[in-house]
């Protein structure tokens, strides 16, 4: 099985570096799956899940990122994430509550979007991504 080098760094620290069979990233125009020897590519990322399939392992590593960039060049994938959230201490109930509050806030503000709204909109996207992560991990643990 061919593999490729993957690097995940956030602005505050280096998160992951290693070989992978494939990765799945939340591209701004849609989800991207990248296998080894992909063509050179630079892609903007939106908030969502970044998944790494390690060679010879059933489970995937899951990271929640709040946007950033992905570069593919010469069988190497580099992800420059703005913020990476940890996925091992996510609390679904708390997230659902946060989501409800964020949605309420946005509903009240109506059609006019100001700076604060943009911020809470971004926060909402991140919460949704975290919920996806919870969901995904649950599925994964059921499978194994």
């Amino acid at each position: 099985m061919t593999t490729m080098q993957v690097e995940l760094v956030s602005s505050e620290e280096h998160i992951f570096s290693g070989e992978a069979e494939y990765v799945v990233a939340p591209g701004s125009e849609g989800e991207l799956g990248i296998y080894p020897h992909h063509i050179s590519l630079i892609n903007k990322l939106k908030p969502g899940l970044f998944r790494v399939k390690l060679p010879q392992k059933e489970i995937q590593l899951i990271y929640v990122i709040s946007g950033g960039f992905l570069e593919v060049q010469g069988n190497k994938v580099t992800v420059l994430a703005d913020v990476v959230e940890r996925t091992d201490d996510l609390d679904e109930a708390k997230l659902l509550e946060q989501k409800r509050i964020a949605e309420e806030k946005l509903k009240n503000s109506g059609a006019s979007m100001d700076k604060d709204d943009a911020k809470s909109y971004a926060a909402l996207e991140l919460i949704i991504a975290q919920l996806q992560a919870v969901d995904y991990m649950r599925k994964q643990s059921r499978r194994s």
Partner: protein, 288 residues
């Protein structure tokens, strides 16, 4: 010679000062390690962003992004002044501000307008005192550099460069050389120098861009600039703690020295009083 009681109070006050400086020294020592770790942790991101940006800049035209332009002349410059929030850290802030004031004078002589963005309380106070045009500022940055706190103040200055209102952007901060040495640095951020964009060209072909080359490049340059400033701030925080540790250590040593001198004086005056009293008794006895 001062009376015994007065010296005793003096000793006590110096002792309590010493306690404070020793505590501050220890706090600074433990924080210094953490800030140094953070300084190192921020490096991979900055390196990677630079790498990707350099690849991109090579693959696209120089005119693709306003951030890549090289202005013909320098009429207006922006300076980002990074200092600590708190004092009591030796000459750290003073040196950085001195360097800043020097550069201000140079620009004034050359009739170049300056706008300033300050990060850290001390820099803001100094900039206001020097009566420069402060366009944005951030204070109370704490001990952990946080990207969110930086983005707001920096946006203005980078946008001005983007809109050709500024011809160059510089940063002043204290570089962490080692624990004993911190160097105030004046560095060019924009326009991007060749050093920033140099790359070993293994893959000269172009990329696929999503959404578009321009948008990707613009946002990437912004991230690069932010990460450079973040790195400077992390450096500055490590310098602050190291410098404070050194300053507090010498303050503690000096207080010890002062206590030694004072107790010597106290013992002397006590001995003198006893001798005097004895002499008086002897003299009295002899008179009888």
């Amino acid at each position: 010679m001062a009376a015994g009681k007065e010296i005793r109070t003096q000793i006590k006050s110096v002792q309590s000062t010493q306690k404070i400086t020793r505590a501050m020294q220890m706090v600074a020592t433990s924080k210094m390690r953490k800030t140094q770790d953070r300084m190192r942790q921020a490096r991979p991101y900055a390196d990677k962003v630079r790498e990707v940006m350099a690849h991109l800049a090579q693959a696209t035209e120089k005119s693709a992004s306003p951030f890549l332009r090289i202005p013909a002349q320098t009429k207006r410059v922006g300076i980002i002044l990074i200092t600590a929030d708190k004092g009591l850290c030796g000459g750290l802030n003073t040196n950085a501000i001195k360097l800043f004031a020097e550069k201000l004078r140079d620009y004034k002589d050359q009739n170049v307008e300056v706008e300033v963005c300050t990060l850290g309380q001390k820099g803001l106070v100094a900039a206001n005192r020097l009566k420069v045009n402060v366009v944005s500022s951030a204070v109370s940055l704490g001990d952990v550099p946080q990207m969110e706190k930086l983005i707001g103040p920096l946006t203005g200055i980078f946008r001005d460069f983007h809109d050709e209102k500024l011809d160059a952007v510089y940063v002043v901060y204290s570089k962490f050389v080692n624990t004993m040495k911190q160097q105030p640095i004046f560095e060019q951020i924009l326009p991007l120098s060749d050093r920033d964009l140099r790359v070993e060209s293994k893959y000269p072909w172009d990329y696929i861009y999503e959404p578009s080359a321009e948008e990707v490049l613009n946002q990437l340059v912004r991230r690069y600039l932010e990460s450079v400033i973040y790195q400077c701030l992390a450096d500055n925080m490590a310098s602050e703690q190291a410098s404070r540790m050194i300053a507090m250590r010498s303050a503690t040593d000096n207080a010890g020295e002062a206590i030694h001198q004072l107790s010597l004086a106290y013992n002397k005056s006590r001995q003198a009083a006893i001798t005097k009293e004895l002499a008086e008794i002897c003299a009295g006895a002899a008179a009888v």
